[in-house]
């Protein structure tokens, strides 16, 4: 699709426009807070304090951010190939089986650094497998990936309900969860990293999965912008027709992209299962797969944008908990609203402010610049 707007300098394209969209989303969220009869400024104060006030809070913020980096990257990778993977939620959920299997079979005999790679592999495999089916169906049978992945979210929920009810629950237990893992299935916290900054993780579950998430972000950057496969994916995303003329095998790219996307979404399962609860619980994903959509849109599908966007949502989750504690009328559902508003303004309405911003930027940056910009369009 051609963009009927003049090309903007990078700082405006990747900095100013997302920022304006974000501010509008928060302004609307502030209106909701006003409607409830509370002060938005006070809410903002509690949010910032709750997210950064203490080392422990920062730990929680980064713990949530870890999860969102994975799901954000998953959505972004698919975006690059022109695919919309709404199924991150289901892929992460099913990937829990991979993590749980690795932990349940190895946690008593192996240390965590042996179990962890196996669990990563398990998560990636199960996540990729759950994304493979919609990918294959789109590539070979032409079914719409958005609808199939939505359906697969529901099928995943039923499947996992069954697994936890009938298969993975210890005998005689009533609650829908696996047994608690022993030392081998528990990831170490990143207290050494926090200590460098003179902070303590406290009780927060900030763990080594964070480093894996950063590595995954770098990996995605390499994949998308530095490999042949990434080039083919981007070509297909920009123009499927051009990709076909260039001899790129469309079906192959769709399936591979979806599997990578599913694997990334799947690795999210490591964080809560091995890093926080040390067992797989019913509904452990808690909407993180959907947060990934907002994160990817805000981060403009670039790892360098996704990490700060994920941290922002980490702030919302952790700070939101603090707000609901201090101001009971604003429950954590406020985050769901903000998430929706971010998706709306940074995603569906991304072009709403663009004409005005373009005019403003071009007016500010002077004549010579303007001509270049217009030529670039």
């Amino acid at each position: 699709m051609s963009v009927p707007y003049a090309k903007l300098p990078a700082w405006a394209e990747y900095g100013l426009i997302p920022l304006v969209n974000l501010i509008v989303a928060f302004a609307v969220a502030g209106l909701v807070v006003l409607l409830v009869g509370e002060s938005p400024l006070e809410a903002a104060y509690h949010m910032i304090n709750g997210a950064f006030g203490r080392g422990e809070y920062i730990g929680f913020t980064l713990y949530y951010a870890t999860t969102f980096i994975f799901t954000g990257l998953a959505v972004a990778v698919a975006f690059h190939a022109g695919l919309f993977n709404i199924g991150g939620e289901g892929q992460a959920y099913v990937a829990g089986i991979g993590v749980a299997l690795a932990c349940l079979s190895l946690d008593r005999i192996m240390p965590w650094y042996v179990v962890f790679p196996v669990a990563i592999l398990g998560a990636a495999l199960f996540g990729a497998a759950w994304a493979f089916i919609p990918g294959w169906l789109q590539a070979k049978r032409g079914s719409h990936i958005v609808i199939t992945t939505i359906m697969f979210n529901f099928i995943a929920a039923s499947l996992m309900n069954y697994m936890l009810n009938r298969v993975m629950k210890p005998l005689g237990s009533m609650s829908l969860e696996t047994r608690t893992f022993e030392a081998g299935g528990q990831l170490p916290k990143l207290d050494w990293l926090m200590k460098i900054f003179g902070l303590s993780v406290g009780t927060s579950p900030f763990n080594v999965t964070f480093l894996l998430a950063l590595a995954a972000a770098f990996g995605v950057w390499v994949l998308i912008w530095r490999t042949r496969l990434g080039y083919e994916m981007r070509t297909m995303g920009h123009s499927p027709a051009a990709a076909r003329y260039a001899g790129i095998k469309e079906a192959r790219i769709i399936v591979i992209t979806m599997m990578i996307s599913g694997a990334l979404a799947g690795m999210m399962a490591l964080n809560p299962i091995m890093g926080e609860t040390y067992r797989m619980q019913l509904d452990f994903v808690q909407g993180a797969g959907f947060v990934g959509i907002a994160v990817a849109l805000m981060g403009r599908s670039h790892p360098a944008g996704i990490i700060p966007a994920a941290i922002l949502f980490g702030v919302l989750y952790q700070g939101g908990a603090e707000i609901s504690f201090e101001m009971p009328s604003i429950s954590r559902d406020m985050i769901v609203i903000i998430q929706g508003l971010v998706i709306l303004f940074a995603g569906a309405l991304e072009h709403m402010f663009r004409p005005a911003i373009t005019r403003a930027v071009l007016a500010v940056s002077g004549r010579g610049h303007t001509e270049a910009a217009v030529k670039g369009a």
Binding site: V146, M151, S158, L159, N161, I338, G340, G347
Partner: protein, 323 residues
Amino acid sequence: MDLLQLFLELAQSTVRLSTPLILAALAGLFTERAGVFDIGLEGKMLGGAFAAGCVAFVAQSAMAGLLAAVVVSVLLSLVHGYASITQRGNQIVSGVAINFIVAGSTVILGQAWFQQGGRTPALSEGARFQEIELPFAEALRSVPLIGPIYAELLSGHAALTYFAFLMVPFTWWVLYRTRFGLRLRAVGENPGAVDTAGISVIWMRYRGVICCGILCGVAGAYLSLAANAGWTKGMTAGKGYIALAALIFAKWRPVNVMFACLLFGFLDAFAIRYQGTPLPLIGKVPVQLMQALPYILTVILLAGFIGKAIPPKAGGVPYVKER
């Protein structure tokens, strides 16, 4: 006689459970036939159910509740329309956004206004849609076979249920026998041709989106004013997505929509009724499989294993006038 009773029981709950699906799926039909995909059916239904619950309680009137549901749902549709028609944004992204905004704000506002923890106050009889006894239902009950069917299956539903089933032929008539319907379908298949004929593509699509909002609002009102006595948090519970599945399953045709919704409603009724009891021939079916069946069927259908579901050709593509 026992078998008949059993059949009637199942059929009756099938009708009840499929009513909101039919309304929502027909809603989706109007917008998708106009070329605007909408995965925000769930959110609009939930928003409608919430508005209906609030207003019906405050005004103590079911009709006021219904009206509020329609207004809120149409407003949400217009947001979707503005994003996907006027701003030419991604229709799927916009639908996802609306689902989240509604899911969050209904809980926050409901808690702030009524303080009942994720629900609106229970509605009294007068503020709900009552079950309607069709004429002679009691008198005919003793007639063998036809009597019980008439008295228990056809009679005794809320007005909105009858409305939903009447909407099916009406939608068919609008779509295939009116000028509006022809243009609506054309705008979803080939908007360029419609534009050439001097008809505004934008306005046609907005009208499709508004029709969707009205029907989603009714579906929401059914949930909180007829099926339940008030709104509860997340009460749509994926019905919007099932309706979407039914719409695809029905290949975007009104009469098929009714049958698809009845099928999915039946699966639901069956799963509730036979949870945990072994069935003849098949044995014990896990309830989770029953719950997943509508989604599995839709996936199989979409993949073209049972017929082929071909969506409106211009669906999901914003219309850009040639420059």
